[in-house]
Amino acid sequence: MRKVLVMAAVIAAASSMAPIASAHHSFAAFDMTAEKTITGVVKKVDWTNPHIWIWVDVTESSGATETYGFEGMTPNFLSRRGWTRSSMQPGMKVSVTFRPMKDGKPGGMFVSGTLPDGKVLTMRGGETGQ
């Protein structure tokens, strides 16, 4: 059986949790007091260290497409908590909740993502599956 994906019952619950402290860098580049949600189509997933990056094409209200970049935890951390490199795949329509970048670049720190089948992926996990 495929390992159970890390799920949260409610996005609100997931997004109100404190972020995982990162060994690698501080959160200074992100606005940790803000939270945004966008919907788009996954363009590419970098399943890489020291962080995964999920690139999502978003159609803005002007009609133009913007590619957003979302930084997640490491493949090391996530692969022990239900994620695989194909948990999010190019072409999937997803909504992503994130802490925006302070410098205004499109994207930010990944908080949670909802897949086409309604599954919610978070950066947390943990052995209790929280």
Binding site: A18, S22, S26, A28, P50, H51, G69, E71, T74
Partner: protein, 266 residues
């Protein structure tokens, strides 16, 4: 075909290399004995530290990076308190780990990533997954070298006190910090006591002393859980690092060569 000039050059390089390696061996000094079958069997009598361990609070929130962290910070001498104030005054948004430089000891043992322990005759090896760091702890009775080169993780000598592995580590690179914004002197020493409290639980009690920087020993305790179903993974920090901190301490994100940047150029 090798010209005469090239041959002379090659011979010179070979000669210099030979001298350099001879010097290095001389500086390292301690020659290990080939392990005997009895040495290998003796390992079975030691506590079983084998396998992959991670701090128990990782993934459960509450600041994984400080898992089981210090009850209080290091007690600094006035001179080092002043150094800390000066560093804090820079208001750096991040430190060099954002640029993929490992933190060195003791920070490398406080990561929210696993550690793999390996016992071989006369040695304990700890692989820290974060930044793929390796600690070599010699338990073969050799003394602490008199004048080792300063390094990020220091030079470690270990001994078994009953069921506890006691590790003394010293001589650290002056580019690393004892704690956030807290430098150490060249006299910093770290003593770690590793022991099993349950079959799959380990505690590490870490005591930092530094006669120039600290007015009292700084002791912290961390609890690790063993995960028999885990392996350590590769961690190449430079693989796709988009985080950075610049010389002024400003943190940022680079989208260079990313799908987002390519989009901008279209």
């Amino acid at each position: 075909m090798m010209t005469r000039k090239r041959l002379v050059g090659a011979l010179l390089v070979a000669a210099i290399t030979a001298v350099a390696s001879w010097t290095a061996v001389d500086a390292q000094g301690f020659k290990t004995k080939p392990p005997t079958p009895a040495d290998w069997s003796a390992l079975a009598k030691l506590p079983d530290f084998s396998g992959v361990w991670e701090a128990v609070t990782v993934g459960r929130g509450g600041g994984a990076g400080r898992a089981g962290g210090p009850p209080r910070g290091p007690q600094l001498t006035p001179a080092y308190a002043e150094k800390k104030r000066a560093l804090e005054g820079r208001r750096a948004e991040d430190n060099e780990t954002a640029n993929c430089l490992p933190p060195g000891m003791p920070g490398i043992m406080g990561q929210p990533y696993p550690y793999e322990f390996m016992l071989t005759p006369g040695k304990v090896t700890i692989v820290g997954e974060a930044y793929m760091q390796v600690r070599h702890i010699y338990t073969d009775g050799r003394p602490m070298p008199t004048d080792p080169d300063p390094t990020f993780n220091g030079t470690s000598i270990g001994r078994w006190e009953g069921e506890t592995l006691v590790v003394e580590t010293g001589v650290f690179s002056d580019t690393t910090n004892m704690d956030r914004n807290t430098p150490h002197s060249d006299k910093m020493k770290i003593v770690e006591r590793f022991r099993l409290t349950e079959p799959d639980r380990m505690t590490i009690e870490t005591t930092v002393t530094d006669p120039e920087a600290l007015t009292a020993p700084w002791t912290t305790t961390r609890t690790l859980a063993r995960h028999r179903d885990w392996t350590t993974r590769e961690y190449i920090c430079e693989e796709n690092n988009r985080n950075y901190v610049d010389a002024q301490g400003k943190a940022g994100i680079s989208l260079k060569d990313s799908p987002a940047e390519k989009k901008e150029q279209e």
